[in-house]
Symmetry: C2
Subunit: 389 residues, 2 copies
Amino acid sequence: MVERKVAVIGVGITRFGEVWEKGLRQLLAEAELQALADARINPEKVDMIFTGNMCGGEFAGQEHLGGMASSILNLNVASTRVEGACASGSLAFRQGLMAIESGRADMVLVNGVEKMTDVSTEHVTTGLMGAGDEEWEGFQGFTFPGLYALMAKAYMNKFGLSRKQLAAVAVKNHFHGARNPIAQYRKEITLDDVYKSMMVAEPLTLLDCSPITDGAASVVLCNAETAKQYCEAPVYVAGSGQASDTLALAERSELHHVKATRLAKTQAFAQAKITVKDLDLVEVHDCFTIAEIMAMEDLGLCGNGKAGRLVEQGQTYFDGKTPVNTSGGLKACGHPVGATGVKQVVEVVQQLQGKAGKRQVKGAEIGVTHNVGGSGATVVVNVFKRGLP
Amino acid sequence: MVERKVAVIGVGITRFGEVWEKGLRQLLAEAELQALADARINPEKVDMIFTGNMCGGEFAGQEHLGGMASSILNLNVASTRVEGACASGSLAFRQGLMAIESGRADMVLVNGVEKMTDVSTEHVTTGLMGAGDEEWEGFQGFTFPGLYALMAKAYMNKFGLSRKQLAAVAVKNHFHGARNPIAQYRKEITLDDVYKSMMVAEPLTLLDCSPITDGAASVVLCNAETAKQYCEAPVYVAGSGQASDTLALAERSELHHVKATRLAKTQAFAQAKITVKDLDLVEVHDCFTIAEIMAMEDLGLCGNGKAGRLVEQGQTYFDGKTPVNTSGGLKACGHPVGATGVKQVVEVVQQLQGKAGKRQVKGAEIGVTHNVGGSGATVVVNVFKRGLP
């Protein structure tokens, strides 16, 4: 039983994209300072720091980001890097949550950061494959588009899914991205653009895939009892769940859904005492369009095999019945892998605070983040509510 | 204020050394299964897993060890990799501690693992440099022996330290390693051996440096209230502290001690309500002989500038007044970087349980672990007591 409650009192985020003028350290610093400013606190108030990052070692020769995150702020507090592939940001968030729940901290800074454009695309592809099973997949020549293409094929075989339904995910996410000032791709695309884009791994074309991105995001977590001292519009962490599955797809009995999402969602929703009907918006892990389809079903937004139709009908736009990825998602907002989980929190918090501008979901009170590591070996689901418990 | 208490109820450790017949997965599996067997529990009892690892990506192409650690046991529980250079194992331990303290878990498996001998020595040296500041140190050509040599020079300049005193650290740790069945170097050495070994970075010769090592270690943590159900001789985690400092040495005002050790020690000792006089043994981070000298002083085992004499007098042998590194330390037991922090816990627990064989500290009741990341940017200090709170 968890007794202490936690609230988000500040958020910060850099521009997502090919940020050639900034390195790992500068991205991290920008997000940290923004979040502290948003929470209106001095760095000295921070008791602990957790930083999600996947490939600092591979892409920048820099492991040990804990020491970097604290020394940017001239702090000597406990500072820890957490990694779970593309779920690294959410894992850092979870550790921050538990640090406050444990009684060891009252104020925690959570960061996610990734600097991906300083190395070649081949280098990025190989580095990211460290998220899968190196012996059973990477060493055999698999890349992540290939793994998700397999999952897409399994899904299509089971339920059917039209090319249009899949492409509609990308079109919707670019529509949202065009309305998000920090998004990597701030332009709308058409179904035809998706159809005509280069094939990457059948059935996934280039516009079915999330891009390579630099970026960082930070949030300030606070013991909910004192949150009101710092923030007029705190957002309460109502529930959190995390689950695992095998690294390798070959070890799973079914590929058309992600078991760990279902397990993590059940934990998070139970803690938050909500059902899927209570949700006003969700940020899901759409590293590929098929991933958003599976996430919708695994989170229970619709029945199995029904997500494609929901998307096609436009119900997942920010002004639809079930808004999904109002940030633009990984697809259009961009996917700096270690930062993505924290970016999702930033988006949901801004929505619940009514600060989401042209993509604002009217009257949003409850939002969910869903962050996946690898092909589903790690999943974190968090539930946020406007106000305090 | 932390309210829930935590105990160690099981430990597991592989042979440390050049373990060519086992990969990352096999090492991890061996340690996990040993620890669960020692705790006499089935995997299904485990609520969460934390795994410390530094260079899985660099050395094995494998990030995302959370998914590996859980699927070895056929579990779907939350499983997270934590990294803080050579302090990764202790950071994983800290997250396990906080997970139980938070009320989210009652039983946690903590692992540390590193597979270092599948790549070249140059590759290892470069990879490990990710623990320092890549822009300010690694990119300029620094290696870790170089950084610690600078610290040794600063220490010598401040306090004086004889070649014999420094070498005596290595001799003592090899004496202990010769009595530890899992140690990489189970042979004694002489002062002369140290003097005559190859110069690496003046004043540090080869036998002043810890080796490149494969290995894994695991411990089972349990809510102290229920520990007695599982274990006849539980060991209580009485205190834990973690602190940070700058990644780069150039940003620090003094190099002859490690500030983060002093801060982490103060936290841990305060929580455990002990003073240095209460200690029966300590496992310190002797990645280089000079590191053990500094650790002794930073932990308060003696006054500043006095550690060399203590070592020279033989007081830090297992049967001396202040036993240090009865495992053989990083120097002789070996230093699989992500595993070292957990190995230190294994050693202290075995000592407090009276299971340390030929290196047993008689009647040991209180022990401390001290684990350093990089050149001191991350330090974790834990205090363990025999029995339950």
